[in-house]
Every structure is written in C-alpha cells, then in structure tokens.
Amino acid sequence: MKNRILIVDDSFYMRTMLKNMLTDAGYDVVGEAANGQQARDLASETKPDLITLDVILPDNTGLEVLKDIRQELPNVKIVMCSAVGQEVIVNEALESGASAYIVKPFSEDKVLEIVGGALQDSGASA
C-alpha cells in the first residue's frame, strides 16, 4: 500500500512543490494544512503515516502542533521543514519526537531521501 502523507505548511507555494514531489514519487498525499488547527484536524481525521511539518505556522508554532499530534498519534513519523535560521526550534522538535528535518530550500532528491528514510524506520518498528 502507498504510504500516506499529510503536508503542513502555511505557504501554498511550498505545499504545491512538496505535493508534486511526493505524488510524483508515488506517495499518497492525503491532505494539506495551512495552519496548526487544520494540521491537528487533518492529522486525526486522515491518520497519515508521515507528516511534513513547517516549524513556523500562523496560529501556533509548529512545535506545539508537533507535541499535540505526537500525543494523539504516537506512531506517525514527523519530518520538520524549516529554512535555515530556526535551528533552535528544529533541535527542540527533534527532542520532542520529530523523526527528521529538511532544510528549505530543498531538492527533490533530499526530500525523498529523508521521507523514505523516516518511513523505513517506521516499517522496522511496526
């Protein structure tokens, strides 16, 4: 079965690019959220295998969203997305249970490598 991915980013441009990359690679993008509330709702509704999560979101920091989703879906893999400059938050996110992080701007290869790697871990532990 195709792995199911939820994309969380407040930029439509970024979401579109990620969606294209992931869909082209054969993943099933089950939803796109533009803010923390949508991310929580869509995560509990779609129960994805993996979430790409932007660290800076309009209504909440990505960090709070990460912690909430972690609590509800302990098995979901979360890959943080951030441009350089927010390493502090990214570190904290990794400590709070994020699987990996991608630094924007990203190349398609890098995204697929990191997403694929994170999902493989989940296969092993499941």
Binding site: D10, S11, F12, Y13, M14, T16, M17, N20, G31, E32, I56, L57, P58, S82, A83, V84, G85, Q86, K104, P105, F106
Partner: protein, 545 residues
Amino acid sequence: MKSREQEYRELFMAEALEAYDAMSQHMSVLEKRPGDEGALNEVFRLLHNLKANARAMGHDAIGEVAHRMETIFGQIRSKERPFAGSMVPVLFSGIDVLGGMIRAVGANQELTENLPLIENLDRVIEGEEPVLLDDDESGSEEDATRKLELSDLVYIPIKKLDHLLNLVGELIIDRDRVLTLAQEIGDTTLQTVTAHLSRLADDLQYSVMDARLVGVGTLFNKFPRVVRDVATAEQKQVELTISGQDIQIDRNILQIITDSLLHLVRNAIGHGLETPEERVKAGKPEIGQLVLSAQTDRDNVLIRISDDGRGVDVERVRRKAVDRGLLTREAAARLNETEVHNLLFEAGFSTAEQVTEISGRGVGLDVVKLAIDSLGGQLRVDSKLGQGTTFTLVLPTSIAVKGALLFELDGHPYALPLMHTDSVVSLAPEKLHVVGGTLLAKVLTENIPVVRLADLLADNDDALLPANRAALTGAQDIIITNYNGRKLGLIVDRFLRQQDIVIKPVSQPLDMIDLFGGVTLLGSGQVCLVLDVPAITRLFLSRRP
C-alpha cells in the same frame, strides 16, 4: 499546458506580493504600537516564508535580505530587544527593498544584491549602529560613483491615454479615406505617400494600444485577500489558484470587469462551493478549489473563474425560470443544458436560496452579463452537477479597434463585430427548411434559425410574417451570429470583407434605435452602421412568428 516551473513562478509571485502588502501593513501597525505581538509574529512568519520560497526559486538576493530581517524580528519577537531606535528605518527600508525585488522578479529583471542594506542589517543584528543612508537611494551602487538618475517610468493619467486613443481613432478613419481617394485619383506618388502614411498610422495605433495594456495580475493579485475574507465570512475552506497574471489587456477593460470578477468570485465561494461538511459528504476533499486564470485566444483574452463545487442544478433552474414567468413549462423542458445555463444571465434571475451577507448584494449575473456586453465581449458558463462551474469571460484585448465583418443590405454597408460572428455560409434555398413559420438552416450538426435581416430591421414592432421560402432566389449569404450561446442566421444581400473598424457612438436621432452599437466611417467616406448582436437577437426572439 503550463509547465511546472511556470506554475511555481506564478505561485511564488502571488504569495510574495501578498506577503509584501501584509508586511507593509504590519509595519505601519508596529510604528504606532511597537510591541504589537500579532504584527511581530506575522512579519516574522512572512519573512521566513519569503526567504524559503525565494531561495527555492533561486532568488538569493531576496533570501539574503529576508533572512537578516527574519533574524532581527526573531530577536524582537523573543523580547531580546525592542522595535525601536535606529533599527526602525533600516527595517522599513528592508521591506521597501524586498518589495522592489519582488516586483523586479515579476518583471523578469535581474536581481542585484543590496549591499548597503545588508551591511546595515548585519550591524543591527550585532547590536551596532546602522550607517544612515539617503532615504530613497539606499538601493544604488557605492556612494562615490552614484549619479543622479531619474526613473525610466512615467506615470500617465489614464485620461490622457484615452484622449490619445480617441485621436488615433479619428486618424485611422481619415487614413482609410485618404487611401480610397488616392486609389480613385490614381496618382502613383500620392499612392506611395499614402501607403507610407497608412503604415505609420498603424504603428501609432498599436503603440497607443500597447501603452494602455496592463498585466491581468494587477487585478488578479488582489484576489487572494478577497477570497480569504469571503471564505471566512461564508465559513468555507477555499484554495485559490491564480494563473496567467502576465496576460496583457487594456487598462479600461480591466477596470470595467473588476466588479464582475468580484461578483463571480464571491458567487463561486458563496453559492458554488459547498461547506466542508457537505463536501466530505459528497466524497470531495474538504478544501474547495477556486481557479482564476487568464489566457490569450487569438485577439481575445479569456478570463476563467472555476470552482469544483456543486455545479448548476439544471432542473432547479428550469423550475425557477418557470416560476419567475420567464418561459412556459413546455418551453423550459425543451431547452438543452447550455440553454438552461444561459437562463442564469436573464434579468432578475437568481438561484441563491438565501442571500448571504457577502455574495448576495442584490446584483445578479445579468448585471455581469451587461458589463461584458458593453465591452463587446462574451460571458459563458459551463457546469457539471456535483463537479463544479466555470465562467468564461471572452474579452477584446483593446477597446479601440474591433475586427468586423462588412456586408451590404439595400445598397448600404453594415458591420457586424467578429466577436459575435460564428461563421458565414452561402446556402441555396433548398437547404433551408420552414418549421413553425421560421426558416431553419442546418449548419454542421445544428439547426439554426435564419431570418432576412431586411425583414427584421423593417420599422415595425409586429410579429414577423411566416417565412416564405419561395421568395428566396439564388444562394443566400448568411451570417451566423452567436450571442450567449444563442445562434441566429442573418440573410444579407452580399458579404463585403473583413476589416478592423473604429466604432463611434451613434448620434442622437439613431440613438433611439438600440439595434446599432455605433457607427464607423469607411474609407469611401460612407457611414457604416455597426449592428449590436445582443439587441438583434432579442428583437428576433420577440418578433419570431
């Protein structure tokens, strides 16, 4: 097909321009309330996005500035330092410079690093005093080599361009007259000079028309905001996709369709798209898609507003049209889907069950239709129940000159705008059939009603006499017109030619007859009436036997 690069570019531009507008607003809030957390968080977030997106697009010059600005706003946000003192003018000029760079990207210009600004931002980050720069010229080279430069752009009031265009219109008419006279006189030198004059006048005409063109993006880019506001008020979730911002169109045409576009977009969100719950029930994604696009099609610009909402319920429109007394139950049942869709544009027709605060402002689609008609354009609707609706505006690129088909009737020349002309055919009388007193011509697969234009224009309001095929002799020249999807064949005496014409409003006495959209002067000096196809179609419908 649009390439992915093109799509990314358009998305980037739309979001970047929106971010710039929003940041400018938040900055003015911060000027008054330096501690405003909402504004600080938003500027920080927008800079962060702009940086990431710009770098992904390869616009590193934007990334460099946005990155430093983000760092400073990060410090302010986490209360390490206040939004105050000498950093404020530097931050303001940072926003200005970002705006300039974004516009430069939109205009396909090469971006250059703004070193003085970057150095100042670095100083601010390190807590040092920035070096004061001249207010406006902070963007140019090192101070020593700076020259005084005036902008290459001139702002011109549109009124002046209107005047220029009118003059060109007059000139074109005289040019055609001089050309005809030169032909008649037969002097070769005169003909050479007039041919040259003619080319110059053409060039001038296109230059003036060109000067009036603006990118559709100037209007489209206001819509992300509109959509967000309307979606919030209507409690819908909407994702807007914009494309074709670079398509050029006459500024006045864009002005005239502004309200129509606003109305159609509000309509699409208010009535077209379902609520998230309804969408989920219908097996659709929660977020509704709205697409605003522009493209060129020969001499026209097509603007489309598409939603993936509930679509037009044809049966409901039929019922409503009957309830409103627009037509009988039998007539309504006979209409095909396209004809039913076109009922939406009839005056006073509205299918909205309930008038919502934003989308229902007492304006119907008929008003939109009238605005598009006034430009000589067309408005079409395509819809599939449950799948969505697309409105297409077919607009002329320029208002000055229109392609027209010239024909003769009773020895007088007439013109018919090409925008409303589907095709011209010559048919022998045997190919025409009389059904219910009306002539029908089979063109391709369609049966199209046909009428002798001379009969229709005869000064009489009574119903037309039943058609008499025996009165027609020889092949009939027929122009198939198209208004609002309704086709009508007009029998004329003789086709003349196709020609670009300048349409002038009709003067008083003729003004009472609204069958004519205007007049034009032909090279021969003859006055040529320009038929208004919407009016002719309506007249035919009211007088058909």
